[in-house]
Amino acid sequence: MRSILRALFPKDRRRTGKNAYPTQEELTPSPQPLSLEGRGARGEGRFVGRPRNAYPTKTEEGIRAHSRAPLRIIFMIASLLCANVLAQDFAVIAGKITDDVMHQVIAGVAVTVLPEGTTTISDSDGRYRIARVMPGTVSLQFASAFFVKTQSPAMLVREGEVATFDVALHPVTVKAATQTVSAERESDAGVQQYTTPQIRQSTRSDVGGFLNERGYQVQSDGRSQYLSLGGLSPQRTLVLLDGVRINPDGGAADLSTVSLSSIERIEVYTSGAAARFGDGALGGAVNIISRQTEPERNNGAALTSAVGSYSLTRESLQLTENDLAGLQLLGNYEYGFSRNDYAFAHPYLGEQHRADNFSRQAGYFLTLGHERLRSLTLSARHYDNHHGIPGAVLQETPTASARHVNTQFTANFATPALRIAGSYRELTQHYRDAQSVSRYDKHYLQVARQLDLEKQWSLWQRLDVTLGSQYLSENFFNDDRFRPQSSLPSISRKTSAVFGRGKLRQNLWLLQSAYSLAYRLDHVDGSTYGSPHLALSFSFDKCVDADITANYAESFCLPSIDALFWSNDVFAIGNPDLQSERARSRDVQLSVALRGRVTVTVQVRRFVNDVDGMIFWRQRFDGKYTPVNLARARIDGTETSLTVSTSNQRLSAQYHHTMQKPVNLSRAENYYGQVIPFQPDQSERMSLTFRLWRCKLEYAYSLTGARFIREANTKSLPAYHLHDLSLECQATLLGTHEVFALAVYNVGDVRYEILERVPMPGRSLTTSLTIQL
């Protein structure tokens, strides 16, 4: 604004004080006659000659000034009307972050401006800077995994002002259930961590949607979300909630059932997951850490309501209450319903409607802590997921439904060097179709009890050693209500495990190096499995940030109870002679980041997984499916990602590409060299995000490559491309914080199949409103 005024009204012409124009006395008399260059008409060319005549007389000036004034005013008004927000002046907030014990700078702290949500990360000098802060009353939130989350007092920032706020953070003493103080850092080889600020910025409501945004391969049937790591199927990705596995027996974990609002941190393990978690992590693992109570957290509530296509409705309520007679409480309730009926193109009957595809989800989450027992946290989770499963297009079973009910209790006692956790989990799965020709009514119940013990030492400020043990007792019940003779008696499985991890950090001139060795020994029902993990990483952070990491790991996956003991029926028969799957994986990753006004990060990861005994359900000559062990399979792949973002977070772009080829190398079989079906040959995701004032606009593109659907590679499903758009805006009204979101998924209304003859819904629209008190 000031610059516009200066341009319109130069100093010698602007109105200052009383005299708008120079007085007669101020004018310098000139004895020389006026002479002009050029055409010389007054007001054109240049005036030279006597200064007196260089300036118009007062009267003339007054006339000319007055005659120009309306134009200037009009121009000013027009400029104001046409000016976009970017032309406005904002405030800047900067500062330095240190700890209050050693007074050393802290890098990697997420600094968030509240309520607008702009976030930045402190650099290696502990400094942060947030440009383009909306003038007004704001506060700053400082979040780091290793320091107590802190919020500054409210401060008033004016436009054009550069406010400074230095802060000293206190090291954390009690944190999340499965974290040990120094072992889990973002730079750990084979692990990628996503913290609260990143999670809160997501426009998705569940963990599956969040990981999809980050470029991971998430397979969806339009309702459930399954993560695929390492080129392997989602059944071989282990998902844990606070250290407790939530995969159904032999199945993939549905990440759509875990609400993002109840999550504090997500750890994605692309290597070495078995050395940490044991069975089932052939492709990798995801450990989801629930939100914990914190005395520093303000009391509050947040209500979200969403509606969308296919009769979608979703409600969630989040409550935070501190100091209920010393108790801290954090609770979350979510309910979602979608009728999910949609049109699809039947191969013979033309446009049809896919009905009875309803989905109903209800979830509860509760965490309790006490200010006097800050090392102890109790948490409980429950979700109930009931949905219709009309089946493939040409085999309609309109009355079929499935219901999954999961309940989990966890008690966690954690100090900086010791963690003891106990948990109880109960998963019920109910599959039913009482009216079709092939009726079924099957109930599955899994009960798991787990006890974890972990002790950590930090030696010489360079070496972290962790030793621990785990005991897991599982019971499986399988009840066939229509055919009781097919029910299984209770089957139990007990796992005892010990593990050790060591990490040595060392500076080699300009390089920071880290050497990790981990080993876990599992004893399960009389068999013993060892899972080693070796990792080397070298980092360089002078002119550019560069990391190179190499991993080698071994893992195992036990056969599921269904695969072993499925009762002989017309569709399938189990195989009690199945062997466990074993994998050897190795990968090399290079990442380079250039940081400045624009930060560019490039990451390339090359991985190879050799899997022995991969379990595959194959059809027999009598039409029954039975699981068999493939002697050898190899999954070869490359993951590439590129992220570009401006320092003020106004613009960011991400690109992720995965190319993989899983090949059957079983020489004794008829499929040697064939691609193992159902995994796409490539996947790609690109997103562009614009932040403007208090709004965020995002465009996302995704590609899922072609998939073979027969072991002989005689048939495949084609690739499909999807485009999504989302808009999110924030506002503050009457002391509450509102977030409005509008999303259009599959803008192009692409009709695709994720499985043969299972069509997905087309374009969908979702709107949501969140009110935070």
């Binding site: 040409l394 020709v437 008829n670 072991e711």
Partner: protein, 400 residues
């Protein structure tokens, strides 16, 4: 008249019979493709056509092939021998078409396992003529005259049990079931023997009840005899030589084929001493008057087998062969003495040469038996001539 024909004999006395030709179309159930096998050249072309979901069977109607796809509930039509697609026909949701047979060269009858119906299909127009109810869970079917004989397995998908098995006689004119004949458990396949009887193989329930072969008299609709086979045979093929071959599965180590001497109605090779071949034998089909080809699902092979059990030929197929069909539908027609592929005057000359002048015998023993009586004699030559010049009765059937 006969003199003229004898003269014709001398003019073409040294005429050589055409070489025997025959192709097989193999249905690969796992790969969902079809292979084309040329038996005379011993060559196979794998995956020459893509089929629907879970193909079960293949029919040949003159120069049109029909693939029966159970999960996709449709039929795929192909031009033969090129296997170029002609079109598809959707039978309706949740039908699960199992197998079929030709009513004539223009019409086919398909059994629908899940809907417990049979569907009449017009081949030329690729359209459904009508769908009619039969007993629960029908499978094999064969046609004689105006009657279709349908195997009713009575399988209950709700509790996975087999009820009483039947053979139902379905009138193709009135489109209703006219007779129900009780047989054993799980009758899966049915065929007419060259002895005029109807043979049904009841597989059993894969547990306590094992395979039993039933012999029926179609006119009276009664069970004439039964023979305990053992094991779980599910498919049958009858050769002109009077030997029945049964596909009996076997998926651990080796596949099993049983044989039965129909004239003696006795088991030659049974569950105790089966013919061993590739594992997972799902189907057998007669390819000559004495040999069959078995489809070995588990090792992706088909094998030609002699009654002695000797393996005569092996072909590697696509993924999971489950069924086979002959192209042409008859390799040798009764009366096609020289194996030329059609009945013409050269067949008459061929027979006369054989009968009177010591010429070569017909390409197969039964190929010269135009009138399907007790053997090859001058009456067959007369019948051929009558067929050609006076519009008399044509061939009485296949010679293979």
């Amino acid at each position: 008249m006969q003199f003229r024909y004898i003269m014709l004999v001398f003019t073409i006395l040294f005429a050589q019979a055409a070489a025997l030709t025959g192709d097989l179309i193999i249905v690969n159930g796992l790969g969902e493709t079809a292979d084309f096998v040329e038996l005379t050249d011993s060559t196979i072309k794998q995956n020459v056509a893509t089929l629907g979901l879970a193909p079960n069977d293949f029919l040949v109607a003159s120069n049109t092939g029909i693939a029966i796809n159970s999960i996709s509930n449709d039929l795929y039509f192909f031009a033969l021998p090129s296997m170029s697609p002609l079109g598809t026909l959707f039978l309706g949701n949740s039908r699960n078409p199992y197998t079929g047979t030709l009513i004539d060269n223009n019409n086919a009858l398909i059994t629908n396992l899940m809907s417990s119906t049979v569907t009449k299909v017009n081949i030329a127009t690729r359209s459904v003529i009508g769908e009619y109810s039969v007993g629960r869970s029908p499978e094999g079917v064969v046609i004689l005259g105006r009657n279709a004989y349908v195997c009713i397995t009575n399988f209950d998908f709700g509790n996975y049990t087999y009820g009483q098995g039947y053979v139902q006689s379905f009138d193709l004119v009135s489109n209703v079931v006219v007779r129900t004949i009780p047989v054993g458990t799980n009758p899966q396949d049915i065929a007419f023997g060259y002895d005029g009887y109807l043979y049904v193989i009841c597989t059993g329930n894969y547990a306590a009840q094992s395979g039993i072969l039933y012999r029926l008299a179609p006119e009276s609709g009664s069970v004439v005899d039964s023979l305990r086979i053992g094991g779980a045979p599910g498919s049958l093929a009858i050769t002109r030589s009077g030997i029945m071959f049964l596909a009996a599965g076997g998926f651990v180590g080796h596949g099993e084929v049983y044989t039965v001497d129909l004239s003696a109605f006795a088991v030659l090779r049974g569950a105790g001493n089966p013919i061993y071949t590739g594992p997972g034998v799902t189907a057998v089909i007669a390819v000559s008057d004495s040999t069959v080809v078995s489809c070995n699902f588990s090792d992706d092979m088909i094998t030609e087998i002699a009654p002695s059990g000797r393996i005569l030929a092996i072909f590697r197929t696509g993924d999971g062969p489950v069924a086979a069909a002959k192209y042409p539908a008859c390799y040798v027609i009764m009366g096609d003495a020289d194996g030329s592929g059609e009945i013409d005057i050269s067949d008459a000359v061929y027979l006369i040469s054989y009968i009177f002048a010591g010429g070569p015998a017909s390409v197969t023993v039964e190929a010269g038996n135009m009138n399907c009586d007790t053997g090859v004699d001058i009456s067959d030559a007369v019948t051929i001539i009558s067929f050609i010049f006076s519009g008399g009765a044509g061939s009485c059937g296949c010679a293979d």
